[in-house]
């Protein structure tokens, strides 16, 4: 077991390090900024993955995404705090505090009720933001120039490079931590809760608390993702941060990526971003068709998401552990949840 964990951790380390090195040395700016946006979103997808492993799909995580984004933006605008070492943890903190509070209600629900209740809460925040002129209403407002240790830069390449390295580092830390968590006793409960809650209770664990914990964790990750996206874009607005379409996009990427590995959200998110870019470029009038069609293809032919493709190619006997546990888990969960999402 320990060996397997090391493998994944090592893989994540090598993966993120090579993306970072490639990004700084070789990749063009546009691709770097796409990776930046994709990886920021991937943090939220990682949060959804934690829930999905338990068989829960949230259609309202834009709530935490938006809370994170607006926390970063408001700290800069109203209090003049632009230090990323304060604003980003604050984004995660605000999201997790709200997630903790709402968790008491939400943890009682499953399936479509869980998804819809989340959606309802997120649309409350959307409604408030749209109606509040002081928060920029639908136009939103700009995010102040971020600083690190008090230093900021106006040079676009330097700014992009630092944000890019930042997201690589945060993505690495977050995915390793989530991986460790999923391997822990509490984390292993994920699958157990999905399969049979009553048995978990008889084992002496509280299902409600386990789900609550995961919910707060996913809220924190999504808040962080929102905060980072706000920094990357330099602008917050309800339409692209809090609306239900954002939640839908997160679920979309989760299904596309598959729940097989903590690396899947990063790969899936990048594929989604590139897919959308090329669809936009090639068919400006019907790009949605391409994006939606791809999801259908993935659901039909790769029920475990894109990750199952990677696992199939690189997997086989060598990664026996992953092949048997995670692989099958991925298959079954993806099947049921993708079906739910499709409905």
């Amino acid at each position: 077991m320990a060996q397997f964990m090391d493998r994944t951790t090592a893989g994540l380390t090598i993966g993120f390090a090579s993306v970072a090195i490639l990004g700084v040395l070789v990749l063009p700016d546009w691709l770097m900024s796409q990776i930046l946006i994709a990886f920021s979103r991937a943090l939220a997808v990682l949060g959804l993955l934690v829930l999905w492993r338990t068989g829960l799909i949230s259609f309202g995580h834009a709530l935490y995404f938006g809370l994170g984004a607006y926390t970063v933006a408001l700290l800069g605008k109203d209090l003049g705090i632009t230090e990323v070492l304060i604003t980003l943890p604050a984004a995660a903190l605000v999201a997790s505090v709200v997630g903790f509070g709402l968790g008491f209600v939400i943890r009682k629900y499953r399936e479509i009720f869980f998804a819809m209740l989340n959606l309802a809460f997120s649309m409350v925040l959307f409604g408030i933001l749209v109606k509040t002129e002081a928060l920029g209403s639908t136009d939103g407002f700009s995010v102040e120039q971020p600083t690190l240790f008090g230093m900021g830069t106006d040079d676009s390449t330097a700014k992009l490079t630092s944000l890019f390295l930042g997201i690589c580092a945060i993505g690495w830390i977050a995915s390793v931590l989530v991986h460790r968590y999923l391997g822990s006793v509490l984390g292993s409960l994920t699958t157990a809760v999905r399969d049979n809650e009553i048995r978990v209770e008889y084992l002496g664990y509280s299902v409600a608390q386990a789900i609550h914990g995961k919910y707060v964790m996913s809220a924190a990750l999504t808040g962080l993702a929102g905060g980072f996206t706000a920094l990357a874009l330099g602008q917050v607005d309800p339409e692209s941060m809090v609306n239900w379409t954002v939640s839908g996009e997160l679920v979309f990427v989760t299904v596309l990526a598959g729940p097989g590995s903590v690396a899947a959200p990063f790969i899936g998110s990048l594929v989604f971003e590139l897919l959308r870019t090329y669809a936009f470029e090639l068919v400006p009038y019907a790009w949605q068709l391409i994006v939606g069609g791809t999801l259908l293809v993935v659901i039909f032919f790769l029920p475990g998401g894109l990750w199952s493709l990677i696992a199939r190619i690189g997997g086989g006997r060598k990664t026996g552990q992953r092949g048997t546990t995670a692989g099958t888990t991925a298959g079954t969960t993806a099947g049921t949840s993708a079906g739910e999402a499709g409905r």
Partner: protein
């Protein structure tokens, strides 16, 4: 490790080469990224006519068939190539798409944008990427009021003018109005519109009473039954509205059978945009604006450029051009003039900096009226503004306007040293009407 180093050095070297290779090489083509809603609710009223206007003008510019003095071919002699992209998908998407246009597809300039939200998100990125960006339609005054811009231009008046002009028109045409209310969508556009209109009314018609129950239905609501009842029950004589597109059409269709337009005087600040779509369903006597001298309000203006525009549009796409077609075409025209002027001054194909320098403070005759890049350090245009009353011309089977009043730019736009809200709140000092 060595190959990585070499690749790195090569990469940096190439990046540097790209960064410095821009200026003063003779060019055969100028590539433009043109952004407009091609899908979603804003595509019908704004995006598609806007795209058509841009496409038609680029075609004419490449052939050199525009009326004089704009009958030179291309942008400073270079053929224009356009890439069209969809504005929908949210601001996040728009920012990444903007980066793609500039960094991946390497366009020379970006023209377009309908939504204020897109413009507000794009402006800082345009500055960061140092790329000429000409905003065509979006209304929010924030763009040039919250920060000075070097690379961003907007070639039409901002939204303040719509509502200040609406108030002036009410004062001139309906001086007996004693009370007014409004129905505006509950988002930035609607909130700003009502604020500017009611503030201006307080200035210029202090005797008229403002309602304490203006209606703010949510955007794309589609059902206005309860709002129409609330407005009807209220005593206010005049109703101001900045509803647009499908919302405006739904409101009019639901309000008409209830006798709303017989009971109230109505001013629709962007009614001109939907005028042709609504036709005779738009009740006679409603006051409409079209965000400036565009669309139905200037259809019969007898300048050679306007006649060319209306006729060519009709031949190409069938029907009269609406406001957005004029506004996108105007953005393209302004960019052409800036390129041409800069090219003339430089004696060769101009660099981006030379184009920007000639764009700043540019004054030119557009299709129906002159445009002055007067605000925001020469980056924000001002034009005259117009309102008129709708009249269905049964003989010709086409919607017309009567009692058109024109307000000079100095009357409806703030001076360069004040933001729009400051200007209206302080009683619009210096306004020349």
């Amino acid at each position: 490790m060595k190959p990585v180093h070499i690749a790195g050095v090569l990469g940096v070297g190439m990046a540097a080469a790209f960064a410095f290779s821009a200026p003063a090489v003779a060019k055969d083509t100028v590539s433009l990224g043109i952004v407009a809603f091609l899908s979603g609710p804003a595509a019908g009223p704004y995006g598609v006519p806007g795209r058509n206007g841009a496409e038609m003008l680029i075609d004419a510019i490449n052939k050199g068939t525009l009326p004089a003095p704009y009958n030179t071919k291309g942008f400073a002699g270079a053929t224009v190539e356009a890439e069209y992209i969809d504005e929908s998908g949210g601001n996040t998407k728009q920012v990444s798409e903007y980066r793609n246009l500039v960094q991946k597809r390497e366009v020379d300039a970006v023209v377009g944008y309908v939504s204020s939200g897109s413009c507000a998100a794009i402006a800082p990125v345009a500055e960061e990427l140092q790329t000429l960006t000409v905003m065509a339609v979006c209304g929010t005054p924030r763009i040039f009021e919250e920060a000075p811009r070097e690379y961003v231009f907007r070639t039409m008046s901002h939204a303040t003018a719509d509502n200040v002009a609406a108030a002036h028109y009410v004062k001139e045409m309906m001086p007996d109005v004693t009370s007014y209310t409004g129905i505006n969508q509950n988002y930035a556009w609607g909130q700003d519109s009502w604020r500017d209109f009611s503030l201006t009314m307080t200035d210029i018609m202090p005797a008229a009473k403002v309602s304490d129950k203006p209606q703010f239905p949510k955007i794309f609501a589609g059902q206005y039954g309860s709002e129409i009842s609330a407005l009807s029950l209220e005593g206010a004589e005049l109703v101001h509205s900045s509803l647009w597109g499908g919302d405006l059409e739904a409101f009019i269709l639901q309000a008409t059978p209830r006798g709303f337009f017989h009971q109230k005087k109505v001013v629709l600040t962007v009614g001109g945009v939907s005028a042709y779509r609504l036709g005779k369903r738009l009740p006679d006597g409603v006051a409409i604006g079209s965000r400036g001298p565009y669309g139905i309000l200037v259809r019969d203006r007898d300048t050679p450029l306007n006649k060319w525009f209306v006729e060519t549009y009709n031949d190409t796409y069938g029907g009269y051009p609406s406001g957005a077609a004029y506004q996108y075409a105007q953005a393209i025209l302004a960019t052409k003039i800036a390129y041409d002027k800069a090219g003339e001054a430089a004696g060769s194909f101009p660099s981006q900096q030379q184009v920007i320098d000639s764009f700043k403070g540019l004054e030119f005759d557009s299709f129906a009226a002159p445009v002055k890049m007067a605000l925001g350090g020469g980056h924000q245009a001002v034009t005259e503004h117009m309102y008129g009353l709708v009249k269905w011309d049964a003989d010709a089977g086409v919607l017309s306007v009567t009692d058109v009043k024109v307000y000079p730019a100095e009357c409806v736009m703030p001076p360069a040293d004040k933001t729009s809200v400051e200007w209206i709140e302080s009683g619009m000092p210096g306004a020349k009407c």
